[in-house]
């Protein structure tokens, strides 16, 4: 898409990375901060995953055997919160930090100190959230969506800690997003026009806009929960003239753009990988950009499809149903473009491509179940069942997480300077692919048959399905340890990676040596 003119400058040898712990605490380097984000997100992925294991162990058989229902509720809640705010979002921010400056030929992020601040807030926020689990009365147990009055009238003391930890997570996300958006607007190398930017940059540009627009709304929602619970307001209490359904409107006005925040960067990653391993240009670059923008725009008009069963007026249900279905048009554009990119390509199946292909197929399955859920009358049956759980895990695990894995396999040689163990990577792929489907596919049937979500016990007829699901869950959890082992091995050594380990790859990041020098593009490259 873009070629570099002139030679790279190599005069930054005297500017090596500082050593010791202060390097990581005080850093202003986008690559260090990117690595911090990625490691943090992986640790959170394992913590949140351990909670999922507790859930699946309890659900292995009907009846209550391992944990109390109240603790089960805390596990579903904190699992969700950690995976959304602690695993997926920081992983994407880490990728943005590492790759966006290199992709647009910038020396660093636009606001490097604020960048470090954004990261270091997160460990404190999640320490507070996790510590609240050990309080008297337990941690948050109202689901990651913290619907009122569960989070107000019926919640435990730890709610105040939950609220303030979400506040500082939000501050972190907003500052991170401002940094990304300003970097993209202001730091592009000469000649890197908007319509030459790699799609990963484009998708993050739009994601950052969504983040700045909706994270403050989440802050407002948690603030109202706080005052309702502790200061006697009645935003979500009919006796004072408020409405619990109003909570859902405010929450999902944040929440629906939020789910696109967790998938748009995936689209960018897959749009980088599929052309690289098909050895063809991305089909329909401009339409990809417009489709991303269309999805982001529509995401503000669909929030109430999460609330079809709250008794909204029929007109509102129809409006939100049609708007939701409209989203499948730009999403379809993307899927067709990826397939068209592969059409008659010279395809090879390296680990990044394997994950990217699995993404396209499995994300599309999740997209289709989303389309089913969008149909108002049908949603009345599916609402709050395992069908919903199956749907959003298909788009978030085999969607977002698989794309993050694909990104890691694609750029690990650039980050570490080493090739990773291909055999281990393929083992990780196949183990993940099979187990993720064993884990989530049967959930569709449990949901259609009426099994409710977020319940620690179930009727006996769901026993077989849940056993299969749990086995898939344990297998998927264990498979991720392969990835951990692979990354550690790759960081510590391995075959030296060339500047461009994938012959079909394009973009400025492949013009710098592997590992990428501590400072790249001190003077901007010129892009034709």
């Amino acid at each position: 898409m873009s070629t570099v003119v002139g030679e790279m400058d190599h005069h930054d040898h005297h500017h090596h990375a500082p050593s010791g712990i202060t390097r990581w605490l005080f850093t202003t380097n986008h690559k260090d901060i990117g690595s911090l984000y990625l490691w943090f997100s992986f640790i959170m992925f394992l913590v949140g995953g351990a909670m999922a294991m507790v859930i699946r162990a309890e659900l292995f058989q009907p009846g209550l055997q391992l944990v109390e229902p109240h603790f089960f509720n805390q596990m579903t809640t904190v699992h969700g919160l950690i995976m959304v705010f602690g695993a997926v979002m920081p992983a994407f921010t880490g990728l943005a930090n590492w790759m966006i400056p290199m992709m647009i030929g910038a020396p660093d992020m636009a606001l490097p100190r604020m960048n470090n601040w954004s990261f270091w807030i997160l460990p404190f926020a999640f320490a507070i959230l996790l510590a609240s689990l050990f309080m008297e009365g337990g941690g948050p147990a109202f689901g990651w969506t913290f619907y009122a009055p569960l989070s107000t009238t019926y919640s435990s003391d730890s709610t105040a800690l939950f609220v303030f930890s979400v506040h500082i997570m939000g501050i972190s996300s907003i500052m991170g997003a401002i940094n990304v958006i300003v970097t993209i607007m202001n730091m592009r190398a000469p000649g890197m026009t908007y319509m030459k930017m790699p799609l990963f940059v484009w998708t993050w540009f739009i994601t950052a806009f969504l983040l700045i627009a909706v994270m403050p709304v989440l802050a407002g929602a948690v603030t109202m929960v706080l005052t309702d619970k502790y200061f006697g307001t009645s935003f979500f209490d009919a006796a004072g003239g408020g409405d619990p359904v109003m909570f859902q409107h405010i929450f999902w006005f944040f929440g629906h753009p939020e789910v696109y925040i967790m998938i748009l960067p995936s689209f960018g990653i897959v749009s980088a990988i599929i052309p690289a391993f098909s050895r063809k240009q991305l089909f329909g670059y401009a339409s990809m950009v417009y489709a991303t923008a269309a999805i982001a725009g529509l995401s503000f008009l669909v929030w109430a499809h999460h609330m079809f069963t709250t008794g909204m007026p029929v007109f509102a249900e129809l409006f939100f149903m049609y708007c939701t279905m409209l989203i499948s048009v730009p999403t379809g554009v993307k899927v067709f473009n990826w397939v068209a990119t592969m059409w008659r390509g010279s395809i090879t199946f390296e680990p990044p491509m394997m994950f990217a292909l699995a993404f396209v197929i499995l994300f599309t399955i999740g997209g289709f179940s989303g389309l089913m859920l969008a149909i108002t009358p049908v949603d009345f049956q599916y609402h709050d069942t395992y069908f919903v759980v199956a749907h959003f895990h298909y788009v978030l695990v085999s969607g977002a997480i698989f794309s993050i894995m694909a990104a890691a396999y694609y750029w690990l040689p650039k980050w570490t300077g080493h090739m990773y163990d291909m055999g281990l990577a393929k083992l990780h792929f196949w183990a993940s692919l099979i187990s993720v489907n064993v884990l989530f596919f049967p959930m569709h049937f449990a949901g259609l048959a009426g099994m409710p979500r977020r319940i620690p016990d179930y009727s006996i007829q769901f026993a077989d399905i849940n056993q299969i699901v749990s086995i898939g869950g344990f297998a998927f959890g264990l498979s991720q340890l392969i990835f951990l082992w692979l990354v550690i091995k790759c960081v510590r050594g391995g075959e030296k990676a060339p500047a461009k380990p994938w012959e079909g790859a394009e973009g400025l990041e492949w013009t710098v040596p592997s590992p990428a020098p501590y400072h790249t593009f001190d003077t901007p490259p010129e892009v034709k």
């Binding site: 500082p18 605490l25 005080f26 202003t28 910038a106 020396p107 660093d108 636009a110 606001l111 100190r113 960048n115 470090n116 601040w117 270091w120 807030i121 404190f124 926020a125 507070i128 105040a160 800690l161 609220v163 303030f164 930890s165 506040h167 500082i168 501050i171 907003i174 997003a177 401002i178 300003v182 607007m185 202001n186 730091m187 627009a213 909706v214 994270m215 403050p216 802050a219 407002g220 603030t223 109202m224 005052t227 502790y230 200061f231 006697g232 307001t233 009645s234 935003f235 009919a238 006796a239 004072g240 003239g241 408020g242 409405d243 359904v245 109003m246 409107h249 405010i250 001190d522 003077t523």
Partner: protein, 293 residues
Amino acid sequence: MAEQQHEKYYVPASSPWPIVGAIGLGLIAFGAGHTVIDASKDADGWGVNVLFAGIAVILIMLFGWFRDQINESMSGLYSKQLGHSYRQGMAWFIFSEIMFFAAFFGALFYARVIAVEWLGGAGNNAMTNAVLWPDFVAHWPLTETPGGTESGAMGWMGLPLYNTIILIISSVTCHFAHVGLEKNNRRQLTGFLAVTIVLGLIFLYLQGAEYVHAYQELGLTLDSGIYGNTFYMLTGFHGMHVTLGTIMLIVMFFRVLKGHFTPESHFAFQATSWYWHFVDVVWVCLFIFVYVL
């Protein structure tokens, strides 16, 4: 990086302030959470100590960070491109603030147009009204809640109107101060800046007086139903923003006295001025939707 053939983008060396800021925010979140929990039990706890420790750490961080920033700026390390970054960053920050207020305005509109009307039986909610809240008649301002709490309502004449006029004038004076800076007319700059600060302080004083009036004479409190909730949350968060804006203006005033800022380079002043105009626009929306309509 001694030789500067190109105008290079300034990438600061590693800095302790971000991690100090993260610790400060962590302490504030943890302390504020425990302060609220302690207060709800009428217990004296250590939460408030942690909260104040966090605020102290943040103040130290702000002081140190801005000192570094000002020193870098004064020694000419900043390029025009960096100035763009700062300006765009500030603009997006203000956008995020607008969305924060949007959440509360959304709550106001939803409560007023939908929730209260439905409780009164509008739409297909006749049974909600007949069975659950038979004595409730929808009205706005909601001076009697479905649960029976009564309060007065705040009119728009008097204090709110004075405050609106004050804030609009202060926006104009702030702009004249900015024009003075750009024309390098330091007397105009300091004079209008001082007037802006005084107007901000008067606004805050009158806001306080209005709250006292509401609590003591109108019986309008934070917990007197959705009208009081939205009234205090919107005006309260706005008041916090005015306080922050006034502090920023005061800092700018002292920097101006020290001779900082030139007609070409004055990002901090510009950001403060944008922030002040933003606070003013929010107030005009507040005045219309909370007080007048």
